[in-house]
Assembly symmetry: C2
Homo-oligomer: 507 residues x 2
């Protein structure tokens, strides 16, 4: 048996990917389960990632003409019932408020009191409650387009939950827009998918594939749903964002009408689109390694951590002064419109232990600075995306003038690594047996890491999709925009198909 | 009968203050009631104010060492029951989730299904649910202080609601901190009250009085509560923020213990503090006038609005080009770490109508620009805090170089006006009859605007406080920090008192 190299996270990705994920989250102190079933606590190091996601996405929404607003948490049951497919999609998993107080139960405890005449649903998504406002706001074509976004918490009662990836309560943004014509609404749907793709690639260092969802996988009540799909390191797909063209379905159920420029009353066309704290799960699973979290610099909770190396007490003041001044200089610099965030770890514990903690927390750049470095005018630098021991001395001035460039390089390297993983695990498959072999684990010791993205033909029938799902747990991720028209045969039934789609196991 | 001057808002403040408030909110398009009882919809112009409040307050929290996190929306009923005074304070007004799905009721509708074994309360405040996490996070004195803040929505089932001032669901931040000693926790409580006071005065242009709440008015479960109190234009007080020293009450009910540096296990000391969307109600009621909203520049949704004046179609291109370039130059400038927000109103409607809309929306600076102004190299400028017709021509270059200074002046003027109102309506009263006269409306035509802040002596008994409240609807707002020790007699019972407190009617 070979000697195994020690890693900071156990088990490793290869040994047990789902458990590795939980351990990365724990070691980086990102989040934890609460005692409320399925609800997580997002801890400061994890919440800061969300704040960075919010700030940058919000800027992109505003640049594309959207404004933020806020709508009620509660949706009256009757609103919910208006759109048949919508209620069908969400009724099975929603938290229902039935009472408005707790009162003495006569046994020293409390029981619900003040029963509501109409129950309220805690929003799982807000099309119906926002539609009620839009029907009042929209009267004339002059009121359109209406381009609104909301940052909010939503609740979907999930049976099996996993931190960030699937939780009963989660944080998200939901865009809701109203347009005068079908083509404008379709354009908006595509535009916002594009914004998500650009954000995922530029900020999360996550290569994604834009495409259309099948009828089976679309949002309940939508005419069509589009998604961005990313590949995780276990080769599974993760849907990282969706954009829905809702046609006139919700306009009709919410009565959103307007007078056209020709004076005719018409139903409007609406869209909705959202991303959530799931994105944090995506970036953990795409980039982290067996030593823990790897954060892309553009959304990292901190860019640089400085660990003062003090071996003798009489060196303390000199080292701490130097480090404080260096941090101050760094914090004056901007990286992606945000001042550099620099942590100084002055805790009273061994240097090695500190270093490993920051590696597990995913900080892009680590500096170890002791008296010798100060004397030489250098810093001893480690990069999170290189091996832990792959460190080098750099001149202080050089470091100060190149740090943002270095962060850009790290961001790019992380992106390229994720892209290489996707490319290495994407295959064109035209043979049904090969397709089945591809999605079947080779051995039982490692059931998780196998398969990838299979670009195969599909006839368009929900039945074939359903059979593949039932037999292999493989789903049609999307019909990529850049899948060229090409004659072929459905991987399941052999009937004619005009373009390839992506099949994969998925989160 | 005198001819009444036309105002944009009807009724005026003097005619009917509560109705004036509703009309200001409506005319500025800030928010509206939803069909969900007591829940409001915060519209974009109002939500932007909240975003500006958030951004600036959040910076102040971070400068004082706090970090953000996120905790569950739902609180198990049993957590709630742990702190007796706390549950007593909130049980009567909380939304209770009892079911986890909606199912077919057999009559074509839906009924709640999936009953929970333990009901969940939608958080009215998060001491108990956050305490459950803190009890896990805190083990040693090395883990302290723990300085956490959360931005969230909360729900308190209110019977009588008013937009921003009192709503069933509202947005807020809640700080929750844990300390090793009583004195550190008390210091934190005072520090955060100071942050609120500074924020209210510097950003909201709202002079406030910091002080301690009486036992009757303190937060359920707190040892002591401190508040900032502001005066509205109807002379009523509005509690704009509170900071609570919780002693060891919640540490004991949530079991937050730590090992001291001497190795002894001790209960920790906690604090909590919060401000909410109520602040938006406060600034509307403090600053707006009979023509609508007046926004302090530092938190205004927009700083400058430009209204192009085009009388002949052939002038359009020239005017629009000029205005676009001017806006671009303005938008490069920073005001309080935020780029200037400039609106250009190109809508196809009469100039006068546009101008009045922007007055009602409270934009600090309005520019009307037509061909004549461009020829002369000037802009025709109106300031929201001056009379609507009090406008003047200013050279374009002069305007560009002085705009941020002008915004500072407007900010200061708004603050000074609010301060003058408070000073004009604050009185020292030592005579009981005078006290009663002061708080009794002089005539029935105008029941709302009377009274003010009465600085009077109080013996310290809850009974006197209660009697005053029952007889006059006047409450003890707080015991101001800057109320000097001074011998006197309780305004109600005549017993000895050592310092003055503030009595007022309040929101």
């Amino acid at each position: 048996m070979e000697k195994k190299e020690r890693t900071a996270i156990e088990p490793t990705r290869v040994e047990n990917y789902p458990e590795w994920y939980q351990q990365v989250v724990k070691a980086a102190d990102l989040a934890e389960n609460s005692e409320v079933r399925g609800c997580m606590v997002i801890k400061p190091w994890g919440y800061t990632i969300w704040e960075n996601i919010q700030r940058n996405l919000d800027d992109m929404f505003k640049e594309t003409g959207h404004v933020n607003a806020y709508f009620p948490l509660f949706i009256p049951k009757s609103y919910f019932e208006k759109e048949a497919e919508h209620v069908e999609g969400f009724a099975k998993e929603c938290a229902v408020v039935t009472h408005t107080r707790l009162e003495d139960d006569g046994k020293g405890g409390l029981k619900p009191g003040g029963a509501l005449t109409e129950e309220l649903v805690v929003r799982p998504t807000s099309e119906t409650i926002i539609g009620a406002s839009f029907s009042k706001w929209v009267n004339s074509y002059r009121d359109l387009p209406l381009l609104i976004n909301q940052w909010a918490n939503v609740v979907r009662w999930e049976m099996r939950t996993r931190l960030f990836l699937r939780t009963t309560e989660f944080l998200w943004q939901e865009g809701h827009t109203v347009h005068a014509t079908q083509s404008e609404a379709e354009e908006e749907t595509a535009k916002m998918l594009g914004v998500y793709a650009r954000f995922a690639e530029e900020f999360l260092a996550l290569p994604v594939i834009q495409g259309k969802k099948s009828e089976t996988e679309k949002f309940p009540g939508a005419v069509s749903t589009y998604s961005i799909e990313a590949m995780m390191q276990d080769r599974k797909a993760l849907q990282a964002g969706t954009s829905h063209f809702l046609g006139q379905n919700f306009a009709k159920s919410s009565n959103i009408k307007f007078q056209s420029s020709e004076g005719v009353e018409e139903y409007a066309w609406t869209t909705s689109w959202g991303v959530s704290t799931r994105l944090i799960g995506a970036l953990i699973m795409a980039h982290s390694d067996d030593d823990g979290l790897v954060l892309p610099p553009k959304i990292a909770s901190a860019h640089v951590v400085i660990i003062p190396i003090i071996r003798k007490e009489e060196q303390r003041e000199m080292v701490e002064t130097f480090v404080t001044e260096l941090a101050a200089k760094l914090r004056q610099q901007y990286y992606v419109e945000r001042k550099l965030v620099v942590e100084i770890d002055n805790r009273d514990m061994a240097g090695g232990e500190k270093i490993w903690q920051w590696i597990k927390k995913g900080v892009p750049i680590r500096l170890e600075i002791g008296p010798r470095d100060i004397e030489n005018g250098t810093v001893f630098m480690g990069r999170r995306n290189l091996a832990p021991r792959d460190k080098k001395s750099v001149g202080v001035e050089e470091f100060l003038t190149t740090v943002t460039q270095l962060l850009d390089e790290i961001q790019e390297d992380i992106y390229n690594k994720a892209l290489a993983n996707r490319e290495a695990n994407s295959v064109i498959i035209d043979d049904k047996e090969e397709f089945y072999r591809y999605f079947t684990p080779e051995n039982e010791e490692n059931p998780e890491i196998h398969g990838g993205f299979a670009w195969s033909h599909w006839c368009g029938s929900a039945e074939c999709e359903e059979n593949i799902k039932n037999e292999l747990k493989v789903t049609l991720r999307n019909i990529p925009f850049d899948s060229k028209a090409e004659a072929g045969k459905c991987i399941y039934c052999g009937k004619a198909s005009s373009r390839r789609v992506i099949f994969a196991k998925a989160y």
